[in-house]
C-alpha cells in the first residue's frame, strides 16, 4: 500500500514537471506541437450566399439555379511566415466539398488534423485530382474511391473523377428551365484539368496545440460562368463533360473563384 502512495507521488511530480517545462518553452519554440486547422468553404454567387433552387443571373441575360454543387479539393498545404510549407499527409489530402453537407449558414467544414504549430500566411490547394495521384490507381486511395463514387464524383462510364459537379437548370432569352450539367474533370492522361490555387491569408493563422483557427474561404460560383473567360449556356456550356475546349475554360474559371474572406484565431 505504501508503495502505491509513493508511486502516486512520483507520478504527480512527473506530471507537474512536464507541464512546467511545456509552459516555459511555449513562448517561442513550437516544434513538436500540432493543432487543427479548419477550412470553412462558403459558396456564394457574387455578393449573395449560394442557396439551392434560387435563381441567379449571369451575363448574356442568362439565369441558372442548382440542385447539386460539389467539388474536390486536394493537396492542401500551408506556408508559414518563415517560408516553411506544411503538406497535409498525402493519403488523407483529398476532400469533397459538397454544398449539401453545409451547416445552416451554408458553410462546409474541412478539418485538417495535426497540422504543425506555426504562424501561417498562405494556403495552396488543388481543385480535382492531379495526374500523379491518379496514376497511383487504387494505391493510397483508402475509402476515397468509394466516397467519390457515392457522391457521384466519378464518371460511371469511365474511370475518372469529376472535379466539379453542378447540376440544375438554366434559362436564356430563348429557352426556359433546360437541364444544366457541368461535370468537369480530367480524362485519364489525355485531358488534364487539375488546377491549383494559392491564397494569402489577410492575417496570420496561428495553429497551436490548444487553438484551432478557422479559415473562411468564399467560393464565388458566378465566376464559373463569368470568370477569366465567359461561358454562356447558349454557346454549349449548359452541358460540360469532357470536351477538350470547354472543360479547360471551366477549370480556369474555377481556379479564380476562391478567396480567403477572413480568419478566426481563437
Amino acid at each position: 500500500m505504501k508503495l502505491l502512495k509513493y508511486t502516486f507521488a512520483l507520478l504527480a511530480c512527473a506530471i507537474l514537471t512536464n507541464c512546467s517545462t511545456d509552459n516555459d518553452d511555449n513562448e517561442e519554440n513550437l516544434s513538436g506541437q500540432s493543432g487543427d486547422l479548419i477550412l470553412k468553404f462558403d459558396n456564394s454567387v457574387g455578393d449573395q450566399d449560394f442557396i439551392f433552387g434560387t435563381t441567379y443571373s449571369k451575363s448574356n441575360s442568362e439565369t441558372f439555379q442548382l440542385s447539386n454543387l460539389k467539388y474536390i479539393i486536394s493537396n492542401v498545404r500551408v506556408t508559414d511566415n518563415e517560408g516553411n510549407t506544411f503538406y497535409y499527409p498525402e493519403e488523407e489530402n483529398v476532400f469533397i466539398v459538397s454544398e449539401s453537407n453545409g451547416n445552416n449558414a451554408g458553410e462546409i467544414y474541412v478539418t485538417l488534423n495535426d497540422v504543425d504549430a506555426a504562424n501561417y500566411t498562405q494556403i495552396t490547394f488543388g481543385i480535382g485530382i492531379d495526374q500523379d495521384r491518379f496514376a497511383l490507381g487504387a494505391d493510397g486511395q483508402g475509402d476515397f474511391l468509394e466516397l467519390a463514387s457515392e457522391e457521384g464524383m466519378m464518371w460511371s462510364w469511365a474511370s475518372g473523377y469529376k472535379f466539379v459537379r453542378f447540376d440544375g437548370t438554366f434559362s436564356t432569352p430563348s429557352v426556359t428551365d433546360e437541364p444544366l450539367n457541368v461535370h468537369m474533370g480530367s480524362v485519364g492522361t489525355s485531358l488534364d484539368n487539375y488546377k491549383e490555387v494559392t491564397l494569402n491569408f489577410p492575417n496570420t493563422v496561428l495553429v497551436r496545440e490548444d487553438s484551432s483557427p478557422e479559415v473562411h474561404i468564399v467560393a464565388d460560383i458566378s465566376k464559373v460562368f463569368d470568370g477569366v473567360m465567359t461561358a454562356n449556356f447558349a454557346d454549349g456550356y449548359d452541358q460540360v463533360h469532357t470536351d477538350a475546349t470547354e472543360t479547360p475554360i471551366i477549370a480556369t474559371n474555377i481556379q479564380s473563384m476562391f478567396e480567403v474572406h477572413h480568419i478566426h484565431n481563437d
Binding site: A135, G137, A138, L145, S149, S159, V187, T189
Partner: protein, 348 residues
C-alpha cells in the same frame, strides 16, 4: 490491494488473449510477375501494388464472387470465361443484372499489365480503376462500391482474406481493387505456339502455311496489331458500317472529340481463335468473315483510318484467298493452351 492486482492481471490477460485469436495475419509471400522476353515493357507500376500470394488469391475470389453485383449472381467471371480467354462465349453483347444488355463485346483478360488503357474506348487508363466501370454499370453488375464493401465486410471469410492480403487488413475499395489487379496482373498469356517459335523454344517450327500467314500479317496487319502484344494500343476507326440501333460513337464518348468518332482500341489478337465473336459489337462470328470484311466490306463512315486507304481511294486491305487461309493458320498459332487451362486462374 489484492483485488486490484487481480483485476489488473485479469485485464492484462484478457488483452493479451485477444491478439492470438486473430489467426489471419499479413505475412506477404511475393509472387514473381512474369515478363516474357518477347514482350514490350510492363506498364503497371508494381511498386504501388506488389503481387502477393494472398493478394492474388483474394483477387481470384473476388473475380469469381457474385456479391460484387446487385443480385449477388453476376461475378466478373460471368462475362469473362477462362476457356475463351476470359471472354463471354457465344455472346456478341453481354447481359447483366435485371436483364440489362451491354453495348459492347466483352474483351479478353490477358496481359493487362502491359496495356496503357482498358475497355474498347479506353475509358479506363489505370487497371486498378477499370473494375469500377462494370461494377457500377446498370447493365452489368449494377452495384455501388460502398454496398459491395458492406457485403464483403459482413463476410468472415473475406475479413480473413483481406487480413492475409494487406497490411492493416482493412476491407475497403482500395484493397479490393488492388487484389483484383493482382489477380489480373498474373494473367499473362505468352506460351502460344507463336511465342515458342519466336523465342526458339521446344524446337517449335511453323508449317509453310503458318509461315506465309506470318509474312502476310507482318506486311498487312502489323502496323496496328504491333509488337508481340498484337496491338499498338491506339484508337482507330476501321470502317465498320454504323449499327443504327447501337449508334456506338466509340472513343468519341470519352473526350467528345469529333476526330475520335467510331474509333475503338486496336484489340490484341492473342487467343483470337477462341475469343469470337469479333469487333466491338461482336458482329462477326468467324475470322473468315473478319478477313472478308477487311478485304471488301470496309465502308467510308467519314473518319476511317488512313492506314486502310488503298491506292484507288477505297478503304480496306486487299487479301487473296490464300492470304486469308494462311493468315487464319497463323492467327491460330496465337492460341495459348497453357493460359486457357491454367489452374491458377480457374474457379475450381
Amino acid at each position: 490491494m489484492k483485488k486490484v492486482t487481480l483485476l489488473i492481471v485479469a485485464i492484462v490477460t484478457v488483452f493479451s488473449c485477444s491478439e492470438p485469436s486473430e489467426i489471419a495475419t499479413y505475412e506477404p509471400v511475393i509472387l514473381d510477375v512474369q515478363v516474357p522476353s518477347n514482350f514490350p515493357d510492363i506498364v503497371y507500376n508494381l511498386d504501388n501494388n506488389q503481387v502477393t500470394e494472398a493478394g492474388f488469391e483474394l483477387g481470384k475470389d473476388l473475380f469469381y464472387e457474385g456479391k460484387l453485383s446487385s443480385n449477388n449472381a453476376i461475378a466478373c467471371a460471368f462475362c469473362h470465361e477462362q476457356a475463351f480467354a476470359f471472354t463471354h462465349h457465344g455472346h456478341n453483347l453481354s447481359h447483366g443484372v435485371n436483364g440489362g444488355v451491354g453495348f459492347r463485346n466483352a474483351q479478353p483478360i490477358q496481359n493487362l499489365a502491359y496495356q496503357t488503357s482498358f475497355m474498347w474506348d479506353g475509358a479506363a487508363s489505370h487497371l486498378d480503376l477499370q473494375p469500377i466501370i462494370p461494377l457500377t454499370s446498370e447493365v452489368e453488375m449494377g452495384e455501388t462500391l460502398s454496398n459491395v464493401i458492406s457485403k464483403l465486410e459482413a463476410d468472415s471469410y473475406y475479413q480473413e482474406q483481406f487480413a492475409r492480403a494487406f497490411e492493416g487488413g482493412e476491407v475497403n475499395t482500395e484493397n479490393m481493387l488492388k487484389a483484383l489487379s493482382q489477380f489480373m496482373i498474373m494473367m499473362v498469356s505468352s506460351n502460344s505456339k507463336y511465342d515458342k517459335y519466336v523465342r526458339n523454344e521446344d524446337n517449335i517450327t511453323f508449317t509453310q502455311l503458318e509461315s506465309d500467314g506470318l509474312n502476310t500479317f507482318q506486311n498487312k496487319c502489323a502496323t496496328c496489331h504491333a509488337t508481340d502484344l498484337f496491338t499498338d494500343q491506339s484508337f482507330r476507326n476501321n470502317g465498320l458500317s454504323i449499327n443504327p440501333q447501337l449508334n456506338d460513337l466509340g472513343r468519341y464518348d470519352i473526350l467528345e472529340n469529333t476526330e475520335d468518332l467510331y474509333k475503338f482500341k486496336v484489340p490484341s489478337l492473342r487467343n483470337v481463335e477462341v475469343t469470337y465473336p469479333y469487333m466491338h459489337d461482336g458482329r462477326f462470328a468467324t475470322l473468315e468473315v473478319v478477313l472478308d470484311f477487311y478485304d471488301s466490306a470496309v465502308v467510308d463512315n467519314g473518319n476511317v483510318d488512313d492506314e486502310l486507304l488503298r491506292a484507288d481511294g477505297s478503304y480496306g486491305i486487299t487479301l487473296s484467298d490464300y492470304e486469308k487461309e494462311s493468315l487464319i493458320a497463323f492467327l491460330q498459332t496465337l492460341t495459348d493452351y497453357e493460359f486457357l487451362e491454367d489452374e491458377r486462374f480457374a474457379e475450381f
